[in-house]
């Protein structure tokens, strides 16, 4: 339990909506994004991409491009001395020297004095290809006669996993009911407003400074150093403001970064590169696509007995984070409920399509589509209310789930009750469909890098009595930094606006895993709390040394028993003088317990877990299948809410995105080529499409998170696909098992049931 000090009460009553100064720069158009950056003498880089889904490069002629006025350099794969690299699997090169594997693969790059000339020069590069047979379907890719994309991966299987927990065989043998389904999920792109952009600066000492807005700058820094064979201390990442990331910019676009760095090293000048919207869609890293076959065993009373999943994820040509996403997709939903027996088989398969990565919730949200649909299919067969069924089975505080996750605080049952109450579960409008879905998401994963599970922060008292906080945790709109100011403000007993947060220069900020896995508020925030508490101690100690009396600290002021007052400015100057220029600094590091993973990956994987239940209300036009989503109620247990405005913002945005992927979005392909690589054809919701969204907070008090807080940013999207699938099924009488849930697919269900009018 967290002590409920007056400061905590005060904060939670008055500072719920505190926003940092950066927010206003965005609203007023003054924020400087990566796309805005210009440095003196800067060149512009462009990439020549493969126009074939699968081919060998026989010859590349660059002489004409090199001769073009304004062109400074041209690079091809054969100029590179680096080895294949990757985030999980080393299967990728910044420029492919001889083998291209998708339409969009990087073949050559140009740096020129302006954008247009760079673009023009690409047309002067002549590439001779020998086309190879290509494979676009994950099933065909696994056949013996299929073309092989990567030498070391026979059968095109990049990653596989098989898990058995409990006794699935007897679970299915003894089941009163077995339901099964097959679900199809396409690639989704977060469609952030600002395409990935960067400026690479080759430094006189041989190092590289990369200006780019990325969610995990320190990991990008490690990778750049590794691939470019530079000492780590010579690579520096400086971040402008980010125009949206949503998990799609955890590592930005590594090939773009590497190419701009190489072009800059070659020319000695800064090189700016940015993806076009089309490149974002065709050569970015959308979330993996999945085919899920699933069976579930239940007792007559609705008790879950077991679940089996056969998962095939579509990697595309290279792996990025797809193995991690596939893993979360395969197993996270198993821990929402008490399911004693699990059997999962997962394969990640290479195809000649755009490589895939991660978006917001690591696949948990699309697995939710399948798992929660299946639960409602069972509820319908057993004639049990879907709410009853979920309450009967949902995980509770203090339990250990089937994969070994140790649940501490958990308000899932309360979320289910609150969401259904608010949507009018028992007072339904005639002709409307209602759907429910539940979710768990790890907050503060400790398994990404077992050697770097936690976070650290440094906090200093400046000479003017204000506070500077240095953290590697990134804020690109989630409100992380406002929350950090608030957390430090509690520890230091002063207003959050007096605490400035710096995170954008890897040279001076503590190393961090960055914005992923809902770790920042929980793990990063905890480090901030610890650092601020240390600073507080130091301030008190130094004050009493200065005035020779014991002191206490309150409301940003320091007072002795005799009534002597000292303010922060005085104490800062005193320490400055005593140490010839140092500032009082607190360093905090939070190191969560190690994961208890065993060989089968059974064990606790995160500091804590957040929960959510969403309820959706929809209406269907029986003549066309057109869907109107009236409302989504999003009930969340993210522990104590530090900032209500930011937290609600996360829910509005995440649910809107969840609605988009559920009902509108998804990649379409034509012979491996992305058929909808524009915002006109890849349809994200407009303001008119987004349903009414009601955030509800079930505030549990988490024993681990700072002042009881848990993560929220990813889980906001997770229950949306399941809730919508179930609401549509309630209205249409059958499930659309292929995302997105379009009018045409709903109409097909109505027609098959003979219910279409």
């Amino acid at each position: 339990m967290q002590p409920e000090t007056p400061a905590v009460r005060e904060l939670i009553s008055t500072e719920k909506n505190y926003q940092s100064a950066e927010v206003w720069t965005k609203v007023t158009g003054k924020a400087i994004y990566g796309i805005d950056l210009r440095l003196p003498g800067m060149l512009y880089g462009k990439i020549l991409r493969s126009s074939h889904p699968h081919a060998r490069i026989k010859k590349i002629k660059t002489s004409a491009a090199l001769k073009m006025p304004g062109v400074r350099t041209v690079l091809t794969g054969s100029d590179l001395s680096c080895s294949p690299y990757g985030i999980v699997i080393n299967d990728e090169m910044p420029l492919e020297p001889e083998h291209v594997r998708y339409v969009g693969d990087e073949v050559a790059a140009v740096a020129a004095v302006d954008d247009k000339k760079a673009e023009e020069a690409l047309k002067l590069i002549h590439v001779e290809y020998e086309t190879l047979p290509a494979v676009f379907d994950t099933g065909e890719a696994q056949l013996p006669e299929a073309p092989q994309l990567h030498e070391n991966f026979p059968g095109n299987v990049a990653w596989r996993r098989e898990v058995v927990r409990g006794d699935p065989e007897s679970a299915f043998r003894n089941a009163d009911l077995v339901v099964e389904g097959k679900f199809h999920i396409p690639q989704f792109h977060p469609a952030y407003l600002e395409p990935v952009a960067c400026v690479a600066v080759s430094e006189p000492d041989g190092g590289i400074t990369l200006h780019t807005a990325v969610q995990s700058p320190d990991i990008v820094r490690d990778l750049l150093a590794q691939v470019l064979k530079l000492p780590l201390s010579r690579v520096r990442i400086v971040g402008p403001v980010m125009g949206g990331g949503f998990g799609g910019k955890v590592y930005g676009n590594l090939n773009l970064y590497l190419i701009s760095a190489l072009l800059s090293m070659q020319t000695g000048l800064p090189v700016k590169m940015q993806l076009t919207r089309e490149e974002e869609f065709t050569a970015g890293r959308p979330m993996v696509a999945a085919e899920i076959k699933m069976r579930m065993a239940l007792g007559n009373d609705g008790t879950f007995l077991g679940r089996e999943m056969d998962l095939i994820t579509d990697n595309g040509a290279y792996s990025a984070q797809a193995p991690w996403v596939s893993n979360t997709l395969a197993e996270r939903n198993d821990s929402v409920y008490r399911i004693p027996a699990i059997k999962t088989k997962a394969r990640l398969v290479y195809t000649n399509k755009v490589p895939t990565g991660q978006y917001r919730a690591y696949g948990n949200q699309v697995a939710n589509f399948a798992c929660e649909s299946l639960i409602d299919m069972a509820a319908k067969k057993l004639k049990i209310d879907p709410l009853e069924m979920r309450l009967r089975n949902c995980v509770r505080p203090g339990e250990t789930t089937v994969h070994g996750l140790q649940i501490k605080s958990c308000g899932l049952a309360e979320c289910l009750a609150a969401a259904t109450e608010e949507i009018g579960w028992t007072k339904r409008k005639k002709g409307h469909g209602y759907g429910l879905s539940a979710a768990i998401h790890a907050s503060g994963s400790v398994v990404f890098d077992p050697n770097l599970r936690g976070a650290s922060a440094r906090i200093s008292l400046e000479l003017d009595g204000n506070i500077s906080l240095f953290t590697g945790e990134q804020d690109y709109g989630q409100g992380t930094h406002a929350a950090f100011s608030q957390i430090a403000a509690i520890a230091l007993d002063l207003e959050p606006s007096r605490i400035s947060v710096y995170s954008k220069d890897s040279l001076v900020t503590p190393y961090s895993m960055g914005a992923l896995g809902m770790r920042q508020a929980t793990i990063g925030g905890k480090a901030v709390q610890l650092a601020a508490e240390k600073l507080r101690e130091k301030i008190i100690r130094t004050s009493s040394e200065m005035i020779g009396e014991p002191v206490i600290m309150e409301n940003g002021r320091i007072r002795s028993a005799s009534g002597r007052q000292v303010d922060f400015t005085e104490i800062a100057h005193y320490y400055h003088g005593q140490t010839s220029g140092l500032t009082l600094t607190g360093e905090g590091s939070y190191v969560p317990p190690e994961s208890s993973y065993d060989d089968t990956k059974y064990g606790n994987i995160a500091v804590t877990y957040s929960f959510a239940a969403h309820a959706a209300e929809v209406e269907i036009d029986p003549e066309t299948g057109a869907l109107t989503v009236h409302r989504i109620v999003a009930a969340h247990d993210s522990g104590r809410i530090i900032n209500h405005l930011s937290a609600s913002g996360q829910i509005y945005g995440g649910v809107a995105q969840g609605f988009g992927m559920s009902c509108l979005e998804g990649y379409l392909f034509n012979e491996g080529r992305v058929a909808n690589p524009t915002l006109a054809d890849y349809k994200i919701p407009t303001a008119l499409d987004v349903p009414d969204i009601t955030p509800l907070f079930i505030e549990t008090d988490d024993p681990e998170g700072p002042y009881g807080a848990k993560g929220l940013g990813e889980i906001v999207q997770v229950p949306v696909p399941g809730a919508l699938a179930n609401a549509v099924a309630d209205a249409a009488g059958g499930w659309v098992t292929e995302m997105p849930i379009t009018a045409e697919k709903i109409f097909r269900i109505l027609s098959n049931r003979g219910a279409a009018k």
Binding site: T624, L664, T686, A687, L688, D689
Partner: protein, 286 residues
């Protein structure tokens, strides 16, 4: 690139004539900007004579440079040509409607351009003027050379206005579209109708659907079957069946299958007919 904002029609024609085919008319530029701006542009968006909506006796004249926003909110169009107001209100987004014009919509010649479909149902004719000052009046159907290709050569000819008979006391019109998103979404189908009732039965029907052919397509068989019929649920169902049977459509990966598109044309045909009838009945009742 040179950009000339014409102050009068004569001036615009003069510049076009002197440029000898190198200059192009530009109105809202919502289409041209995407296609690529011409090296010489003659902006006619602010010519007063092209921006007017005027009723003359039983006819309505809508200037080619009238924006979608202006048409959608014009009381005259809302009352006397409701289908056009509905179509213009459905175009793109507020930004696109504030810039995009009815003339541009027609000349751009997209197969399912919203305003063009409504105009076709209303029976509109285009008044054109070439660089030699010669005027002609054309049926809309004659202005299409193919998919996304107009017969109008905007380097030597200007659409001045669209003219059609206003909906009389016994007449009504309506427009409907179906798209995957509520804004900024080209329609999977759009359908418009103009009906005239006499003694409670259909005396005149123009029913237009798109995308079926390069130009908005009249569903003659369905129209004919309606004459003499009472507008009721049975008739609506008949229209639904006839209309979807009458059209030959294509499916597309990006929008929908051919079957579904055909089905939607049927449903929307039934709906616009009934909506147009309701407009007549509302007039009769008030």
């Amino acid at each position: 690139m040179s950009y000339f904002t014409a102050a009068s029609l004569d001036e615009a024609l003069n510049v076009l004539r002197e440029a000898k085919g190198k200059a192009l008319i530009i109105a809202g530029a919502t289409d041209l900007f995407l296609k690529g701006m011409p090296s010489q542009a003659v902006d006619i968006a602010s010519l007063p004579e092209l921006g007017m909506i005027v009723e003359e006796q039983d006819y309505l004249s809508v200037g080619a440079a009238v924006t979608h926003a202006a048409a959608a909110s014009s009381p005259l169009i809302m009352v006397k040509a409701a289908a056009l107001a509905e179509a213009c209100a459905a175009v793109g987004s507020p930004q696109v409607r504030n810039l995009g014009t009815i003339g541009g919509n027609l000349v751009n010649a997209a197969p399912a351009a919203d305003a063009a479909v409504a105009l076709a149902a209303l029976g509109a004719k285009a008044v054109l003027c070439d660089i030699d000052g010669r005027r002609r009046v054309e049926e809309l159907g004659n202005l299409y050379a193919g998919y996304n290709q107009s017969r109008i050569d905007s380097s030597r000819e200007i659409v001045l206005n669209l003219i059609f008979k206003t909906c009389q006391f016994n007449e009504g019109s309506a427009f409907a579209r179906f798209a995957s998103r509520r804004a900024l979404s080209l329609p999977m189908v759009n359908v418009a109708a103009r009906v005239g009732l006499e003694n409670g039965v259909f005396a005149e029907v123009r029913l237009v659907a798109a995308p079926v052919k390069p130009a908005p397509t009249r569903l003659f068989k369905t129209e004919e079957a309606l004459l003499g019929k009472e507008p009721n649920e049975e008739t609506r169902q008949m229209v639904e069946e006839l209309a979807s049977a009458e059209v030959k459509v294509r499916g597309s990966l990006l929008r929908c299958s051919a079957d579904y598109r055909r089905h939607l044309i049927g449903v929307l045909a039934g709906r616009v007919l009934m909506a147009a009838v309701r407009r007549v009945q509302d007039k009769e009742e008030s």
